[in-house]
C-alpha cells in the first residue's frame, strides 16, 4: 500500500479512483482497511489539500477541520458544536475531520463483520431478522443500518450545503437510501471531494443525544434542531441508514420500527420536544 501526499485539489482528484482512496483523519478509514471492508492500493492524503478552519463568522467550514476544533469554536452554530463535542472521544475528535465524519460508514455489526448483507450488495438485511437494537426506525425496508454521524444530523437541521471540487450540494441531497441498483448511501461521484461546508446561521439551534453510556458511543438517537426565519428544521441521527430529516415532530408516528428498535421512537419523542423547547420553537 502506498500513501500519496498531493499538494493541490487538482492533483488529489487526479490520483483518486482506480483503487485509490482518500484519507483524511483516518479514524474510520483505517479500521475499514484493516478489516478489508475497504480495499485500496493507494491512499491519497487530503491534509494540505482540503481547507481546514472556520471562516466568515462561522458560516464556512473547511472540510479538513477536526471535530476537536469545531467543538470549541464559538462562531459556529451551537447544534454543530454540541454534536461534535458529543461524538466519539477526545482522541478521535482530534483526528477526525468534519468532511470525513459526514462520510463515515454505519456501525451495523452485520455490515462491519462482512455478512453478505444488502448494503454489501447481497439480497437481504440480516439485521431485520437478527440482533438490531442499534438499528433503524425509518427508511429501513431494505437495509436497517443506522447512520452514526452526530454532526451530520446537526448540519442537516442547520440546512448546510457542501462545496465539492465540482459542485455545490445541499446536505439533503448528499444522502440517499441504498437501492437495488446502488447500495451507496451518498451521492458523491467517484473521486469527488468535499472541500467546504456552508452553514447558515440560525436564530437558535441545539443537538441532543441519547447513547448507551455517558460518553464515547454512537447515537441511539440524536436530535438536531435549528430555528431560522423560515421555521424550525429537525434532523435525527442513528434512526435510519442516512441522517433523517423530519418535516414535523409528528413524522415520528410514521416510523417503521423493528421489534428491537421500537424504543428509539419512544426515546426520540422527549428529545425532540426538548430540542424544540431549547430553540424556542
Amino acid at each position: 500500500m502506498q500513501l500519496l501526499r498531493p499538494d493541490s485539489v487538482e492533483s488529489a482528484t487526479a490520483e483518486l479512483g482506480n483503487g485509490s482512496v482518500a484519507l483524511a483523519g483516518g479514524t474510520d478509514l483505517v479500521p475499514l482497511l484493516r478489516d478489508q471492508i475497504v480495499e485500496a492500493e493507494t491512499l491519497v492524503e487530503l491534509r494540505g489539500v482540503v481547507p481546514r478552519g472556520v471562516r466568515e463568522g462561522g458560516s464556512r467550514i473547511g472540510a479538513g477541520t477536526t471535530l476537536a476544533e469545531l467543538e470549541l469554536d464559538q462562531q459556529i452554530p451551537q447544534a454543530l458544536r454540541e454534536a461534535c463535542s458529543l461524538a466519539a472521544s477526545p482522541q478521535l475528535r482530534s483526528m477526525g475531520t468534519i468532511g470525513g465524519n459526514l462520510l463515515q460508514a454505519t456501525r451495523c455489526w452485520y455490515w462491519r463483520l462482512k455478512f453478505p448483507c444488502f448494503l454489501h450488495g447481497g439480497n437481504h438485511c440480516h439485521a431485520r431478522q437478527g440482533a438490531h437494537r442499534e438499528h433503524a426506525v425509518f427508511g429501513n425496508e431494505r437495509c436497517a443500518s443506522a447512520h452514526p454521524s452526530d454532526p451530520a444530523a446537526a448540519l442537516l437541521a442547520l440546512g448546510a450545503t457542501l462545496r465539492t471540487d465540482r459542485r455545490e450540494l445541499p446536505l439533503d441531497e448528499l444522502y440517499r437510501l441504498p437501492t437495488e441498483d446502488d447500495r451507496d448511501v451518498t451521492a458523491l461521484e467517484p473521486g469527488e471531494l468535499i472541500l467546504e461546508l456552508d452553514v447558515p446561521s440560525p436564530e437558535a439551534s441545539t443537538y441532543l443525544k441519547a447513547m448507551d453510556r455517558a460518553r464515547f458511543s454512537f447515537p441511539l438517537v440524536g436530535v438536531g434542531a435549528a430555528r431560522g426565519s423560515d421555521g424550525v428544521r429537525l434532523a435525527l441521527a442513528g434512526v435510519a441508514p442516512i441522517p433523517w430529516r423530519l418535516d414535523a415532530p409528528d413524522d415520528l408516528d410514521r416510523a417503521t420500527p423493528l421489534p428491537g428498535t421500537a424504543f428509539k421512537v419512544d426515546l426520540a419523542r422527549p428529545l425532540i420536544r426538548r430540542a424544540l423547547e431549547a430553540v424556542g420553537a
Binding site: W109, Y110, Q129, D212, R213, S217, P270, L271
Partner: protein, 753 residues
C-alpha cells in the same frame, strides 16, 4: 519441623481435601487490631513507576531472539464440521514456518461448537504474515444447526453437567406460613472480561525445559496443566509472569493459545508467541454467562423469610461450568426453607470462564432485587429487612463463621442510607433520584498450600521470594508491607521477587480473592523466621538475651534502651544472607470463612429518556484486616466500575440465527468510560478475623463487584417505582420498566375501591 496435615481447601466455593506441609509457625500471634508501623497504612504501589514508564515487561512486551508469531484460524460457524482441511497452501507463503491443525494439537477442533473455536494455526516471522496465511488454509465446512437458546437447551436436556438440586427444610410448608409471597424472573446478560492485556503466551524450548511466558493468574496451575498434558516432569516446565494486565478469572489455566504456541514451537524449533487480538479476546477467552433466574420468596409480615425457591438457568456455552448462581440465595439470609434447581445449559456459544465472583454477581442481583420487591410489598425498610434476616451461623451445617461483621457493615452503611430522603428530594423535572442497597456474601479466605522465603541482605534490606503472580491488584506492595512490618523495616527496604516458577516457592492461584489471605501469612511466617534468626545472632553478638531484643525502624532494639542499625548484624555475613522460610497454615477447622459487605447506590433516572446515571456508591466490605488501605480502596473502585459496566452498558450479543458473535470490538461492546464512574466512598470495618491465620486478612478481589448491580437497580426502583428485571439496564429495558410501572399505577388508580 515440617508438619504433614490434611486440610479442607476452598476456591470460589468448591471445597476439596488436600495434604499440605506447614512449618511450625502457628506460634505467631496476630498483630493487634489497627495500623502497625507499615501494615494498615496506605502504601503506593512499588511497581507503579515501572508500569507508568513502560519499564515493566509484560508478556506482550517480550521479544525473544528468533521468535515467531502465531495466528489462529477460528471457526466462522457456531456449529460445523470440517469435511476437509488443507494447511499446505499456507506453508507455501513467505515467512510462514509452521502450520498445525486438529491432528497436531488437542485444542484445535475439527468439529467446532462455537463461533471462534480454534481450528488451525500458523507461525510466521511476523504477525501480519501469519494472519495473511490463515486465509490460505482451505477448509470445507459442513454447517450444522446451532443450539443457542438456553430454555430450549433445558427442554432438550443439553447440559454441561447434571442439574443441581438443593433442598433445606420444607419449602412448601414455609410458603404456607408466609403472609406475603413475591415472585419474579430476572435475567442477566453475557459479559466479557476484556483484560487490558489480551490472553497470550510465548513458548520456547531451552534444552529439555519448556519455558512458558504467559499472562496468567496461576503460575503453578499452568505449570501443572502443561506438564500433565505434555507428560513432562513438572520441573521441566518453567512458567514466568512478572507483570500482567488483568485476568478477572479468565487467566487461571494455560488456555488454547498456550498449547498452540507450544505445538508451533515444537514444530518450528523457534520461540513462538501466540497473542490474541482484541476480537479474539471478545470471542473465545471466556465470559460471565447469561442467566435466567425464576425466584420466589415468602415472608411473614414482620419480614422474617420463611421460604426461598429458585430455578436458575446458566447459559454456559459449549464447555465451561455451571456456576453458583444459587450461592447468595442459599447462603446470605437465615431462612430455614430453601430450594434451588440449577441447569447448566450447553449451547453453541463460546465457553464461559470464571469472572470476578462468578455466579454470585448474577445471583446477588436476582436475590437482592427480589428482597427489595418484598420490602416494598411489606412496606418495610430494606435495610431493616436485611438485618432481620441476618444469618448468625452457616445455614448449611450450623458451623460458626470465623468472623462476620456484616452487622457492623450495616451500621456503617446507615449514614449513606440515611441520605435517601435528601437524595429523593433532589429530584427535579423528569429526573428522579433514589437510593438502593444490596448485601454482599462471597468467599475469600484463601488457604494452603502457599510458601514464601525472605532473604535479608548485609545492607539490611530484604527480599520476599516466592513464585506468585501479581495480577495487577498490588500484591507486590501488600507482600512487601507484611514482610516490612515483621522485620521492623520501612517498606522501601523490602522488595518482592515473584513471577518465576524456577526461582521461587509454590504459590497459590490469584483467584477466589485468595492472594492476600493465602500468600500473606506465608510471607509473614518467612519474615518472622528471618527476624528470629537476626535476633538470635544479635543476642550472641551483643551478649544479650534474645527475649529483650526486637526489630523496629530498621534497627535491633534492646529493652534496656540500646539499639543498633540492622546492618550491624546482617553486615557480619558480608555477601551471604539470612534466609527465612514460611508456609500458609490451614484454615480454622469447623468454621466457615467468608467475606461480607453492603453497598448503597444513589442514582438519577430520567423517566422520559430512560437515562440512568449512577451518582454515588458507598461500599463497606468486611475483609478482616486491611493490609494496604490505598490498594484496598483501588480494588473497591475497580470492582464497582466493572459492576457499573455490567449493570448499565455491557452486553455480548450474537446473531440469533447463526450464533455469530456480533460484539467483537470495543465500539460495540460498551465498557464504562470515566464519564460513567460515580463518586465512590469506601469503608472497611478493618477488624482482623481472629481465627484466620497469623494475619486475620481475607481477600478483596471479588467482593466489591458482587452487590453493585443489585444496589443500582434497587436505587432505580426507589427513584421511579420501576422494576428492572433484566441486565443491562439499557434504554429499552429502563423505558419498558417505567412503562410497566405507569400501567400498574394506572390500574391501581382506576381499580374500584
Amino acid at each position: 519441623m515440617a508438619r504433614l496435615i490434611k486440610t479442607e481447601k476452598e476456591v470460589e466455593g468448591r471445597y476439596s481435601e488436600q495434604w499440605v506441609v506447614v512449618e511450625d509457625d502457628d506460634a505467631l500471634d496476630q498483630w493487634p487490631q489497627g495500623p502497625g508501623a507499615v501494615v494498615g497504612k496506605p502504601a503506593t504501589r512499588q511497581d507503579g513507576p515501572q508500569r507508568a514508564r513502560g519499564q515493566a515487561i509484560y508478556t506482550a512486551d517480550l521479544q525473544l531472539p528468533g521468535m515467531l508469531h502465531a495466528a489462529v484460524l477460528r471457526s466462522p460457524h457456531a456449529r460445523a464440521r470440517a469435511e476437509k482441511m488443507d494447511l499446505s497452501p499456507a506453508l507455501e507463503l513467505p515467512g510462514v514456518l509452521g502450520a498445525i491443525g486438529p491432528d497436531d494439537c488437542h485444542v484445535l477442533q475439527s468439529e467446532p461448537g462455537y463461533h471462534g473455536a480454534p481450528v488451525a494455526a500458523v507461525a510466521a516471522d511476523s504477525f501480519a504474515r501469519a494472519r495473511e496465511a490463515l486465509a490460505a488454509i482451505e477448509v470445507e465446512w459442513e454447517e450444522l444447526e446451532p443450539l443457542l437458546d438456553p430454555e430450549e437447551a433445558v427442554r432438550r436436556e443439553s447440559f454441561v453437567s447434571d442439574p443441581r438440586r438443593y433442598d433445606r427444610g420444607d419449602v412448601e410448608a414455609g410458603f404456607a406460613q408466609a403472609d406475603v409471597i413475591v415472585e419474579a424472573e430476572y435475567r442477566t446478560q453475557t459479559v466479557l472480561h476484556n483484560s487490558m492485556e489480551t490472553h497470550q503466551s510465548v513458548c520456547r524450548w531451552e534444552g529439555d525445559t519448556l519455558e512458558v511466558y504467559i499472562s496468567t493468574q496461576f503460575i503453578w496451575g499452568v505449570r501443572a496443566s502443561i506438564a500433565e498434558q505434555l507428560e513432562l516432569p513438572p520441573d521441566r516446565v518453567r512458567v514466568v509472569c512478572n507483570y500482567m494486565g488483568g485476568g478477572f478469572g479468565s487467566k487461571n489455566s494455560p488456555g488454547d493459545y498456550t498449547y498452540i504456541a507450544i505445538a508451533l514451537a515444537g514444530k518450528t524449533g523457534r520461540p513462538v508467541r501466540c497473542a490474541l487480538t482484541r476480537r479474539e479476546e471478545n470471542l473465545a477467552t471466556g465470559n460471565r454467562n447469561a442467566t435466567i433466574q425464576r425466584l420466589r420468596a415468602g415472608a411473614r409480615s414482620d419480614g422474617t423469610l420463611v421460604a426461598l425457591d429458585a430455578e436458575y438457568v446458566n447459559a454456559v456455552g459449549w464447555t465451561g461450568w455451571s456456576g453458583p448462581t444459587y450461592g447468595p440465595l442459599e447462603m446470605l439470609y437465615a431462612c430455614d426453607n430453601v430450594r434451588t434447581l440449577t441447569y447448566g445449559a450447553k449451547l453453541n456459544l463460546p465457553p464461559n470462564a470464571a469472572f470476578r465472583a462468578p455466579g454470585f454477581v448474577e445471583g446477588t442481583y436476582g436475590l437482592e432485587c427480589l428482597l427489595d420487591e418484598l420490602a416494598a410489598r411489606l412496606e418495610l425498610d430494606p435495610l431493616a429487612l436485611r438485618r432481620r434476616n441476618h444469618a448468625d451461623q452457616d445455614l448449611e451445617d450450623g458451623r460458626p463463621f470465623s468472623s462476620k461483621k456484616l452487622l457492623e457493615c450495616y451500621d456503617r452503611a446507615e449514614e449513606h442510607w440515611a441520605r435517601r430522603d435528601e437524595v429523593r428530594a433532589r429530584s427535579e423535572g423528569s429526573v428522579r433520584r433514589g437510593t438502593g442497597l444490596a448485601s454482599q456474601i462471597w468467599y475469600g479466605g484463601g488457604g494452603p498450600p502457599s510458601y514464601a522465603g525472605v532473604r535479608v541482605s548485609s545492607d539490611g534490606s530484604a527480599t520476599v521470594l516466592t513464585a506468585m503472580q501479581d495480577i495487577g491488584t498490588g500484591t507486590r506492595t501488600a507482600m512487601a508491607q507484611i514482610a516490612a512490618e515483621e522485620l521492623g523495616l520501612p517498606v522501601e527496604r523490602v522488595r518482592v521477587s515473584l513471577g518465576d516458577s524456577a526461582r521461587g516457592t509454590y504459590a497459590s492461584v490469584s483467584a477466589g480473592s485468595s492472594t492476600t489471605p493465602s500468600m500473606g501469612p506465608a510471607v509473614r511466617a518467612a519474615a518472622a523466621d528471618a527476624a528470629r534468626q537476626i535476633l538470635e545472632i544479635a543476642a550472641q553478638r551483643f551478649d544479650l538475651e534474645q527475649r529483650v531484643l526486637s526489630l523496629r525502624d530498621g534497627r535491633v532494639v534492646s529493652a534496656d534502651g540500646g539499639s543498633w542499625p540492622l546492618e550491624e548484624i546482617t553486615g557480619l555475613l558480608e555477601d551471604a544472607q539470612i534466609t527465612g522460610r514460611g508456609s500458609r497454615g490451614p484454615n480454622p477447622a469447623g468454621m466457615r470463612v467468608l467475606t461480607f459487605g453492603v453497598q448503597v447506590a444513589d442514582v438519577a433516572v430520567d423517566v422520559e429518556t430512560g437515562e440512568v446515571t449512577v451518582e454515588r456508591i458507598a461500599a463497606i466490605h468486611d475483609i478482616g484486616r486491611v493490609i494496604n488501605p490505598l490498594g484496598a480502596r483501588s480494588q473497591v473502585e475497580g470492582g464497582i466500575i466493572q459492576g457499573v459496566g455490567h449493570t448499565l452498558s455491557e452486553e455480548r450479543m450474537f446473531d440469533p440465527a447463526s450464533g455469530t458473535i456480533l460484539t467483537q470490538t470495543l465500539d460495540a461492546y460498551k465498557l464504562p468510560t470515566i464519564a460513567d464512574v460515580p463518586e465512590i466512598a469506601v469503608d472497611f470495618p478493618d477488624i482482623p478475623d481472629e481465627h484466620l491465620t497469623n494475619l486475620g486478612s481475607k481477600g478483596l478481589g471479588e467482593p466489591p463487584i458482587v452487590p453493585t448491580a443489585a444496589a443500582i437497580v434497587n436505587a432505580i426502583r426507589d427513584a421511579t417505582g420501576a422494576d428492572v428485571r433484566s441486565l443491562p439496564v439499557s434504554r429499552e429495558e429502563m423505558l419498558r420498566a417505567l412503562r410497566e410501572a405507569r400501567e400498574r399505577e394506572k390500574k391501581l388508580a382506576t381499580a374500584p375501591a
